[in-house]
């Protein structure tokens, strides 16, 4: 594509935190150094807190292990998962920045079809800084990208779009499949670079993946709770998806946008499908109840903030999913605990208030 004269994407280095959950090491950061070094990192160390996780030199970071989480949150730390990357949401809570980018420690820099290294963070920032269009599908996808626009027939009154709350990136190489699919297709690799970003229409749910995700913490942060997973929990690998369903319902209600597509990262590590199957097993059945629940969820008009929406959702979870399994009772309680902790660590200001949401 020909060069354009659009302004460079702002770095936002003082407005964005990178949250990384890890249980092993942070070697992967070396490859990301050219892109990540300007930013502040929040490392959430899962597992054994006595282990020392070495952060490569030159990065500005804060690191929290389980002892820190317990100390900072007190009894409320029960809502933060242990032995699961879901613990990353603690990083969202303690951040003081407007934007969050989160990435897994087995995700590396990918290359676009021309061979150029992809600056994933820059693309996420672009996605977050320009509007979403959830009310009408644009067949040329994101109309705000260079070289694109709204197509004929797209109502002019909808062309301003709405603020973007979430930018959901994708992965080349190891695709994010569930265990049964991994077992059937162990060799499948995602090699298709799809050059698009698009807004997920209002009223449509999607499976959110936390491997390569950015969001506007001020717009949607409190809804990014990654649930109860890992140690002592009957389920795993549903953390990001649970957050994604809550986030989408709330974004739809508040008139915020969720984008998916670019940027790609290179996902290097295939997790063990048998281990995954054991974690996901119950989820596969529960999902058949969970999805209709979210599809039918309606939030009352007086839920005008993310927190209010989330508390209301937690009530509905308890009410409607509690009968599926006692886990959902615990989860609903944890959702409330999360909001309490969030509000305590992030005292409410005017920025938390949003105009009346569309029901």
């Amino acid at each position: 594509m020909a060069g354009t004269t659009t302004a460079a994407t702002p770095l936002l280095k003082d407005e964005l935190d990178i949250v990384i959950p890890t249980i092993r090491n942070l070697d992967f950061l070396e490859m990301w150094r050219p892109f990540f070094e300007p930013y502040h990192l929040i490392i959430v160390q899962d597992g054994d807190p006595s282990k020392v996780i070495k952060v490569p030199d030159g990065f500005d970071y804060e690191l929290y292990n389980r002892n820190d989480i317990n100390r900072i949150m007190g009894p409320r730390s029960s809502c933060i998962s242990f032995k699961d990357s879901a613990c990353r949401c603690f990083g969202y809570m303690v951040s003081k920045k407007k934007y969050i980018f989160t990435i897994d420690d087995d995700c590396f820099v990918a290359k676009d079809p021309s061979g150029k290294q992809i600056n994933a963070l820059e693309q996420h920032i672009k996605n977050l800084l320009c509007p979403s269009t959830p009310f009408f599908f644009n067949t040329l996808y994101d109309p705000f990208r260079e070289g694109a626009d709204f197509v004929r027939g797209y109502p002019f009154s909808l062309r301003e779009g709405v603020p973007t709350a979430v930018s959901h990136g994708l992965w080349l190489n190891i695709p994010d499949y569930d265990a049964p699919t991994q077992l059937v297709k162990p060799l499948e690799r995602n090699q298709r670079y799809v050059d698009m970003v698009l807004t997920i229409p209002k009223g449509t749910l999607f499976p959110m993946c936390g491997m390569n995700l950015a969001f506007d913490r001020e717009l949607i942060g409190p809804a990014m709770y990654f649930g109860l997973m890992g140690d002592g929990q009957p389920i795993g690998r549903y953390d990001d998806m649970w957050a994604g369903w809550c986030v989408k319902v709330i974004c739809d209600h508040l008139g915020l946008g969720v984008k998916t597509g670019l940027p790609y990262i290179w996902h290097s590590k295939a997790s063990n499908p048998f281990v995954n199957l054991r974690k996901e097993y119950k989820g596969i059945f529960w999902q058949e109840e969970i999805i209709p629940f979210f599809q039918a969820a309606v939030l009352p008009k007086d839920c005008t903030t993310v927190q209010k929406c989330y508390i209301e959702l937690s009530k509905q979870v308890k009410d409607k999913l509690g009968k599926v399994d006692p886990y959902f009772d615990k989860l609903a309680d944890a959702m409330v605990t999360w909001i309490e902790a969030w509000d305590e660590l992030n005292p409410a200001g005017a920025s938390d208030q949003l105009p009346n949401g569309k029901a």
Partner: protein
Amino acid sequence: MSHSIKDDEVDIVIAALHSDLTSLLNEWRPVFSRFHIIIVMDPDLKEDLEIPEGFNVDVFTKSDIDRVVGSSSTIFSGYSCRYFGFLVSRKKYIVSIDDDCMPAKDNQGFIVDIVAQHIANLTTPATPFFFNTLYDPFRKGADFVRGYPFSLRTGVTCALSCGLWLNLADYDAPTQALKGGQRNSRYVDAVLTVPARAMMPVSGINIAFNRELVGPALFPAFRLAKEGKLRWETVEDIWSGMCAKVICDHLGLGVKSGLPYVWRTERGNAIDSLKKEWEGVKLMEEVVPFFESVRFNRASVKAEDCVVEMAKQVKEQLGQSDPVFTRAADAMVEWVRLWKAVGTSSAVPEG
């Protein structure tokens, strides 16, 4: 995944708004020569049609249209003459492009076989109830991602396949006039199902559909007072497409968008089109709340029943604001009548 349909299940329908289709058909020869082609001449075209040899083609002229539809009030002029082709086709699948579209090349430099791609789209399931982040899970090298509910993985039948355009994208006149030099050079290697309840502008420039399932739902009804011979002087396909989408949503059928691409050639001057009164913009604003609120009876299980129901609601809810809606509603009802009379009989009218 193999989509083994026979060549004789497909009709290519082209509305000839230009008389000389020699280079068009020659360019498409590698892709189209296997199929039966229906060319419908714009009744307003004065010159004789010029087409090259070697195609299995039926041409329909103004006199054929008059003979077949008799005294119907349906207007088949301009772009709308293609609907006559849909009406008289007897095939299961139709692929239709504008006569200013040439084959495009994909990112590897290969000619895009739009028929193969459209048929692939129509013969693999659509997934309108939940968004798959790796797009069409039935494409080679893709699948449903973690978290996609298993009960929704069978999908539904895809009834409509909306392709895209490189070079001259389908912009409206103000956009094209403002960005005179903008050309679409981004080949996005994806097909995706447009989710249920999402509205979309279905462009008629490059589409394919399952005639048996949604034939009646694509119709010439929404005619601007100053509708012209350039796409940005029309919204008839947009209107028809939006109706078709809500009907597909009701019937549990899918609509896909994305590949295949065509290369749309340069034509016309958007600024000149702006000089004409451009009611299309204003009217589109009115229709959004309407389409959000359209409801169908459970008993409407066929496309033609849905069209009649929609027409009634169009007349009641939109008729007041502009006579173009009343005319559209009447035209939709008349189309269903025509479809039942002509579109479903076993005899193929001679071209």
